[in-house]
């Protein structure tokens, strides 16, 4: 192959745009980490006390022993609500994905997939508003408690994460090679046997990725949960008790705490915990996505 010169690389504009992405991301990580570490470096709160402390009283006067910033109530609330939401959403979401790819592609394409796209578009505050007016009174009147509860938060979230799980699961199911399907049907299996013993196992990695992505969305969702969960800074004792999450705590208090105060610093540290969790989810997704994927 004769060459007249080196192959021209990408234009500066293109490299520059891609560099912007990297710089912005690095800036987010650096700034959140810098502000988030102040609680530990400036206020000298022990990280363990911060993460595992159950008492959140950042305004406790010095006479009573000074402020306490234990975020376990927030952490527990976030973990419980998002796990519960994904647990409730996954069966319905995976069934919907199988419906779209295997059971009735025509219906799925014309009705179910567009419907799920609309679900994805409905704003978070609108979900919160519906939850506040429908779920909260329903739980109060029929199940007991105040209505503002872990259950209300998890139910709202379970609808909100559905589009994420369905979307990724549909892609994973579509990536399963046609040969597997032909082989299964050729051996005389029914559709259910094919779905249960061939399709779902073959797509396991992709479906799991969808579930983890759903979990990460649920963990970071803010206002919809804030509107229905009650925001009591205590570790919840039951499904019907109110709770608080990392995101809702930040959203409510950030506006009326002075920059540099321990209270404010603790909120930034909660944001740092959210950031660290995002990285954890990325690692988990790389692990599950790499295994058992057919496509």
């Amino acid at each position: 192959m004769s060459k007249t010169g080196p192959r021209p690389g990408p234009p500066r504009l293109v490299v520059g745009a891609a560099a912007v992405l990297v710089v912005v991301t690095a800036a987010v990580v650096v700034f959140i980490a810098w502000r988030g570490l102040a609680t530990f470096l400036v206020n000298k709160v022990h990280p363990f006390e911060f993460l595992a402390g159950v008492v959140w009283r950042p305004d406790r006067p010095a006479a009573e022993g000074g402020p306490l910033v234990g975020i376990l109530p927030f952490l527990a609330g976030s973990v419980i609500v998002s796990t519960l939401a994904v647990a409730m959403s996954t069966p319905l979401s995976v069934a919907s994905a199988v419906f779209v790819t295997e059971v009735a592609p025509n219906w799925g394409l014309r009705v179910l997939q567009p419907a799920i796209e609309v679900f994805a578009g409905i704003p978070s505050v609108v979900y919160g508003w519906v939850g506040l007016n429908v779920l909260v009174p329903f739980i109060r009147n029929h199940l007991g408690g105040l209505g503002f509860s872990v259950l209300a938060g998890a139910l709202v979230l379970s609808v909100m994460v559905m589009p994420t799980i369905v979307g990724v699961a549909v892609d994973a199911l579509k990536a399963v090679p046609l040969e597997l399907k032909n082989a299964a049907y050729g051996l005389g299996s029914t559709r259910w046997q094919f779905i249960r013993y061939v399709l779902l196992p073959a797509a396991r990695g992709g479906v799991l990725t969808g579930v983890v992505l759903g979990l990460s969305r649920a963990f970071g969702e803010t206002l919809a949960v804030q509107m229905v969960i009650g925001n009591t800074r205590l570790v919840p004792r039951s499904l019907l008790s109110p709770a608080v999450t990392l995101t809702s705590g930040i959203a409510m208090d950030m506006g009326h705490t002075a920059a540099g105060s321990l209270w404010n610093n603790a909120l930034w540290s909660m944001a740092l915990v959210l950031l660290a969790t995002s990285f954890l989810f990325i690692v988990v997704i790389r692990l599950v996505g790499g295994k058992g994927a057919a496509g």
Partner: protein, 294 residues
């Protein structure tokens, strides 16, 4: 239980799941629109909110939502498009490419409240923008970028390689091929993706609470001085959006008719989202028909 019976039951269960999801959506839309639309009229859409009395509208908030979206898209689209060109057309294995991939993954998985806090720190405080339209639009840009890059990269990769090869074989260089052949061919899916993302961002609130702010001056279209806080186009005035407004009236509850305002605003938000969805479908169909000449 025979295998055939099991198969029938499973089929029934899959249909039940699909019907449940569809009915849930229908109910949700009916509930939101049924409660809210009766409050929506011209004065609700154009009047400013009132601070303590009943009867306020959502005029400035509605305008701010559109204005923020527009400004943010003006920044997002070029950055995302050129990044996607890099990823789809130029990137090979290497440090820079994996740094971009990791950045996209990180930005995608960041909760929007964290992006809002980043905006508060960098745009509002360090850049001295204050609670402003510009700070909000920049935060929205950070929020939008990963999705926009992904959609653009998919659109570029879906362009048949024969088109590229034909152009390169004619002696056209790579960059010109991208500009003259690949980008036009990818345009319909780019546009569809853009509209869908715009629909989602229109209702974003968490990233805007502490960037665009939770208040808006009464804007006036007769105000011609762009530095006046009453000017709609002023990028440095506070710019509370509709979604933020729903959250605010609900959590503060100062106005006696907060319920009416939230119901009406929710209906407007959902209507706009539906319009964006339909618009994306319509544009996609129409453009692909035009391109294929059918």
């Amino acid at each position: 239980m025979s295998d055939r019976l099991k198969d029938r039951l499973a089929t029934a269960a899959f249909w039940a799941a699909a019907v449940l999801v569809t009915v849930l959506l229908a109910w949700l839309l009916a509930w939101i629109l049924g409660r809210g639309l009766r409050y929506v009229d011209w004065s609700f859409l154009s009047f400013p909110p009132s601070n303590f009395e009943a009867g306020g509208g959502i005029g400035p908030q509605l305008f701010n939502s559109v204005w923020l979206l527009l400004i943010s898209m003006l920044i997002t689209v070029p950055v995302a498009l050129f990044s996607a060109v890099y990823l789809a057309e130029y990137s090979g294995p290497g440090f820079f490419s994996s740094a971009i991939r990791l950045s996209l993954e990180t930005l995608t998985s960041l909760p929007s409240i964290v992006i809002g806090l980043f905006g508060l720190l960098v745009f509002v405080n360090f850049a001295h923008l204050g609670y402003s339209v510009l700070a909000g639009a920049l935060a929205l840009t950070v929020l939008n970028l990963p999705a926009m890059v992904r959609i653009a990269e998919e659109a570029l990769r879906a362009v048949p390689s024969e088109l590229r090869e034909a152009s390169l074989a004619l002696g056209v260089d790579h960059w010109e091929t991208v500009r003259r052949v690949v980008l036009p061919a990818a345009f319909p899916s780019l546009l569809t993706g853009l509209i869908l993302i715009a629909g989602r961002v229109f209702g974003e609130a968490a990233a805007l609470l502490y960037t665009a702010g939770m208040s808006s001056p009464d804007i006036s279209f007769t105000e011609l001085d762009p530095t006046s806080p009453r000017s709609p186009w002023n990028l440095l005035r506070a710019g509370e959006t509709l979604a933020v407004h729903i959250w605010k009236v609900n959590s503060e509850g100062v106005v006696p008719d907060a319920r009416r305002v939230a119901d009406g605003s929710a209906a407007v938000l959902v209507l706009v989202v539906l319009l964006f969805n339909l618009g994306a479908r319509w544009a996609g169909r129409r453009m692909s028909r035009k391109m294929t000449g059918l």
